[in-house]
Symmetry: C2
Subunit: 203 residues, 2 copies
DNA sequence: TTGGGAAGTCAACAGGCGTTGGCATACCGT
DNA sequence: ACGGTATGCCAACGCCTGTTGACTTCCCAA
């Protein structure tokens, strides 16, 4: 019957006027980020995102064209890695780890990306691009032998993404409960070693 | 178009007879594991699984009741961790890492679990149970102070699952290309340290 | 030989999805 | 005051999903 009231609880015009296009675009994007983060690509429906943004689903299409495109925009993601070349060698690990932490805590974009990358091929491709280029480049500037940079960046990514996965996505209790400070202290030597230890494979 | 031929490539009766209930159950389970591994819970459809098993979708329901239940069965998962109590302390890391590796390579169950856990709450719950109990217990037997076991197990899980994620799910090139032997050599000291280093938080 | 149960097929259901196009409404420059 | 345009809603489309129940076919035991 589709008649869910004619007057829905809090319509977009409840408070009075309507929003500017900019405001609506931004509201949709915010809602999309939250939903993608919480539910992953498949379970995050356009209808739910639209409801969160207090807007009709068709508006999402008008502003972003398609769900795939909306996700691409929502997952636009810059690690904004700091320049590590000025950091003394023995502080590299700690610096990188604590930077990642302040970047993640309170920003749900990375979990969203991880959730989606697990099932959506273009999401996986995006994570791959982010980590092989952005992290790869930053690591390249810091590593002695540049040919080893990809491998070292991969190892660093494996530990950092492992933490993101267990803490934000799977929510393993010990990883959720640990304080950022403690976690940083545990992780820093690992990252440091991946960056600086001689490659054990090149005997 | 539901008419994919009427005569589909190789119908269940192509070779002649039909299968035993056991054989069909097993075929469905195998197909389910593959599909869940490749696509995750949402994108792995009952219809696709049934097609892989060369059976009607309704048979899947008859044998497993529901998709949720089929997944629960397909994701039945025992880490089968070896007893580490006989291992000399300085070999613990290497032992655990190489065990995990021989367990994963060639078995798609873990990636399936990871893919699903990223979007499906009951999948996440399952991973949580597996790692907090199975890994937690094994680590508890090996760690000096048992109250530290959960935290140490969590750290170990973060690195091991991080590798599984980057290598099998995201397929980051450097992590895919690296040989198991090299990877084990890189990871062993990390795991070893998470198991044995004094907790830096308890000053 | 025949009956009964197991194994499998078929067609349909109710509901949710992304997406579309037409229609209403409020704003704002003139 | 007014018309155009930006903003928004509504209703529907075609498709795919998990799930169901009735029907057919085969095998094997009596």
């Amino acid at each position: 019957m589709t008649e869910d009231g004619g007057r829905r609880g809090a319509g977009p015009a409840a408070g009075g006027g309507r929003r500017s296009a900019e405001a609506t675009r931004a509201a949709i994007l915010r809602a999309a980020r939250d939903r993608f983060a919480a539910d992953g690509y498949d379970r995050a429906t356009i209808r739910a995102i639209a409801a969160d943004a207090r807007i009709d689903p068709s508006m999402v299409m008008r502003y972003y064209g398609s769900k795939e495109n909306l996700f691409a925009t929502a997952a636009e993601f810059d690690l904004r890695l700091p320049d590590l070349s000025g950091v003394p060698a023995d502080r590299l690990g700690r610096e990188l780890v604590s930077y990642f932490f302040t970047r993640w805590e309170g920003d749900a974009t990375l979990p969203a990306l991880l959730r989606t990358a697990s099932t959506n091929p273009s999401g996986a491709e995006r994570v791959r691009a982010i980590f092989t280029t952005q992290l790869g480049v930053a690591v390249g500037r810091v590593v002695a032998d540049p040919t080893e940079a990809p491998r070292r960046a991969g190892l660093v990514a494996s530990q950092l993404l492992g933490v993101a996965l267990t803490r934000y996505v799977l929510r393993l209790p010990p990883m959720v409960d640990i304080s950022p400070a403690d976690l940083i202290t545990w992780l820093a030597p690992t990252i440091h070693r991946y960056l600086t230890d001689p490659d054990p494979a090149s005997h």
